[in-house]
């Protein structure tokens, strides 16, 4: 299924600081995503998790600090260049485009295909063939995440959970080496959550990619993550395996304000 033989490169975030007019959204944040691992970023609302994703995908430029993917510095690159390097993401609020599931997934194939304005306008054989090949792969990915039956349905008619899945599948269509998932199960019911968790596990195993996960659902984080970084008010307050983080007093204080029994905080 996957033709990538080498392991994905290391994603190394060093001392990232982001300020919005006096407010420091991220304060010297550092973490390293080990190739092929699931790395969760957790923290209370407003801790800077989404800001962190926006830096990683090139939407925000940090005031200082570096993000490296292998040997490539990402912080100076435009979002489309970062996407071309194999970093794909989903959004916390669903952002799909008009058209069918197939149209959305084919957008994910954008950087992997070549057909320009002239070739598409004249429907040159190369463009037609390319479109057919990518459509076949997009269908495979739709099957993988459980969207197979909806492949030709308009996205606007799908349920909330299915639209979340469209975003997930669209990101997978980039054949990324690093996948950034911003709250992939927010707003889903228990069955949908379990299914999405299973899919994340499956794609990680099958495609061998690194996953960076922002999520409030602690159960999901604890089950999926290899490593967890905890943010609070823009700072890293804890880092480690799920078990280490769960027992960390700083984390409990950030989530609950006082000493607590280690129940799920979300």
């Amino acid at each position: 299924m996957n033709d990538r033989t080498t392991a994905p490169p290391v994603l190394d975030v060093r001392d990232i600081t982001v300020r919005f007019a006096g407010l420091t959204a991220l304060d010297t944040v550092s973490f390293t995503v080990v190739p092929g691992s699931v790395h969760a970023i957790i923290g209370p609302n407003g801790a800077g998790k989404s800001t962190c994703f926006n830096v990683l995908s090139g939407l925000y430029r940090p005031a200082s600090g570096t993000v490296r993917l292998g040997d490539t510095e990402l912080t100076r690159l435009a979002p489309h260049r970062i996407a071309a390097l194999g970093v794909a993401r989903t959004f916390q609020n669903i952002v799909t485009t008009e058209g069918t599931v197939a149209d959305n997934l084919m957008l994910g194939r954008h950087i992997l295909s070549r057909a320009g304005f002239t070739a598409s306008a004249l429907r040159l054989p190369s463009a037609v063939r390319e479109q057919r090949e990518h459509l076949a792969r997009a269908r495979e990915i739709a099957e993988l995440v459980g969207l197979g039956p909806h492949f030709d349905s308009p996205v606007a008619l799908l349920s909330y959970g299915d639209r979340k899945r469209v975003e997930f599948a669209r990101a997978l269509c980039l054949e990324p080496s690093v996948l950034l998932l911003d709250e992939p199960v927010a707003g889903m019911n228990a069955a949908e959550r379990a299914r999405t968790a299973e899919t994340i596990r499956a794609v990680r195993a099958e495609l061998g990619l690194s996953v960076v996960l922002v999520e409030h659902d602690m159960g999901l984080v604890m089950r999926l993550a290899d490593e967890v970084t905890v943010l609070d008010f823009g700072r890293v307050i804890a880092h480690g395996t799920p078990d280490e983080v769960r027992r960390d007093p700083e984390v409990l204080r950030a989530y609950l304000g006082t000493e607590a029994t280690g129940e799920d905080a979300a």
């Binding site: 489309h80 957008l107 954008h110 057909a115 304005f117 004249l122 463009a127």
Partner: protein, 376 residues
């Protein structure tokens, strides 16, 4: 699906045969309406790609129509290089594209309605240049259009004389087939663009710039490219209009013309090639028909008389103004969306007992008014 496709093909063939047969039955007046409609349709399809597909408003379409029309006249005429007219057509289209490209520093950065304001300047600039650059444009009186000639065949009343099945082939009949061919080319290419990789990238840009960017779409480049492509279609429409009018004058290429084109794509339905065509025919044919039949219509004065009633051109404007209001209120996805929903309803009623596949039935309306994109 294949049955649907076959039926679609059959309809297309029937339509093409009908359009090809029309010059044998219609007189020059109706053919001229057809010529103007087809030219407008080419321009509207171009604007539809920019405004409907890419979500960029342009009020400068008249400028690019003028570049195409005057470009052809100058390149093929005297004074001018006097190139073979067929070459001049191609170069005029490229010239309009180049003019769009020169504007790309703006077109690539400025978004949506702001681009509309920025392109407003182009119309006034263009109009001023057309009036003052006498040696090239002929000033206020404009220039006559050199006839098109393809391999010894001239698109005029004679040279060579031509009579087919007892019908003398004058300029209108000949230009009809030329326009039909150019319109078919427009239809083919615009659909290819919309359904291909560039079209998906442009739709993504329109619906969410951030999503497009993180999916690897070079935002500025695709915005500029949409503008250039739209300008090229406008240039081609300009050439077709020039050939049909046989004279180009600056006053035709005014802001009102840009607004007409916007009206066409709104009436037809944003982002659809068929809709843009329907809108173009409506907006173009209406004033011409009302002028012709003014004496038979209530409340409309015959042209040239001043007996208190509304002139046919004004009446046509009122009518299509009303059409825009009605469409925005009751069918924001235009004629195209209206047809699609009606067809879906008929289909549903026919197959009501069976539980039909929802995917082929309902389409969400592609609204002309779009919600603001949420920030990530």
């Amino acid at each position: 699906m294949s049955e649907l496709l076959r039926r679609y093909r059959a309809w297309t063939v029937l339509l093409v045969v009908l359009l090809c047969a029309l010059p044998f039955y219609l007189d020059a007046f109706w053919l001229r309406i057809g010529l103007f409609s087809m030219a407008a349709a080419v321009g509207a399809v171009g604007l539809g790609l920019l405004s409907g597909t890419a979500g960029q408003l342009s009020l400068g379409h008249a400028f690019f129509l003028a570049v195409g029309a005057y470009g052809y006249v100058w390149l093929a005429g005297e004074p001018g290089p006097g190139l073979p007219p067929a070459v001049a057509v191609v170069l005029a289209v490229l010239l309009a594209g180049a003019a769009g490209g020169l504007f790309s520093p703006v077109a690539g950065r400025v978004r949506g309605i702001y681009l509309g304001v920025a392109t407003l300047a182009l119309v006034f600039l263009g109009h001023h240049v057309l009036l003052t650059a006498d040696s090239i444009t002929g000033g206020f009186n404009g220039r006559s259009v050199p006839p098109l000639e393809l391999g010894g065949f001239t698109f005029t009343a004679s040279d060579p004389e031509l009579t087919l099945l007892g019908v003398p082939f004058g300029a209108e009949e000949r230009l009809w087939y030329l326009s039909l061919a150019l319109f078919a080319l427009t239809w083919f290419t615009a659909r290819g663009l919309r359904r291909g990789r560039p079209g998906r990238a442009l739709v993504a840009l329109r619906d969410s710039e951030t999503a497009a960017a993180v999916m690897g779409v070079h935002v500025a480049r695709y915005r500029s490219a949409a503008f250039v492509v739209s300008s090229m279609y406008a240039g081609l429409a300009g050439v077709m209009l020039a050939l049909a009018f046989r004279r180009v004058v600056p006053d035709y290429f005014s802001l009102a013309l840009s607004v007409d084109y916007l009206a066409m794509i709104v009436i037809g339905g944003l982002g659809s090639v068929a809709g843009a065509t329907a809108g173009a025919v409506f907006v173009t044919a209406l004033p011409l028909l009302m002028t012709r039949y003014a004496d038979q219509l209530p409340l409309v004065a015959a042209p040239g008389t001043t007996d208190g009633a509304v002139g046919p051109t004004e009446a046509a404007r009122y009518l299509y103004g009303a059409a825009i209001v009605l469409i925005l209120l009751f069918a924001p996805d235009g004629l195209h969306g209206l047809v699609r929903r009606t067809r879906a309803r008929i289909h549903r009623r026919r197959s009501a007992p069976k539980d039909a596949d929802p995917a082929t039935e309902t389409h969400p309306p592609a609204s002309a008014v779009r919600a603001k994109e949420p920030t990530p």
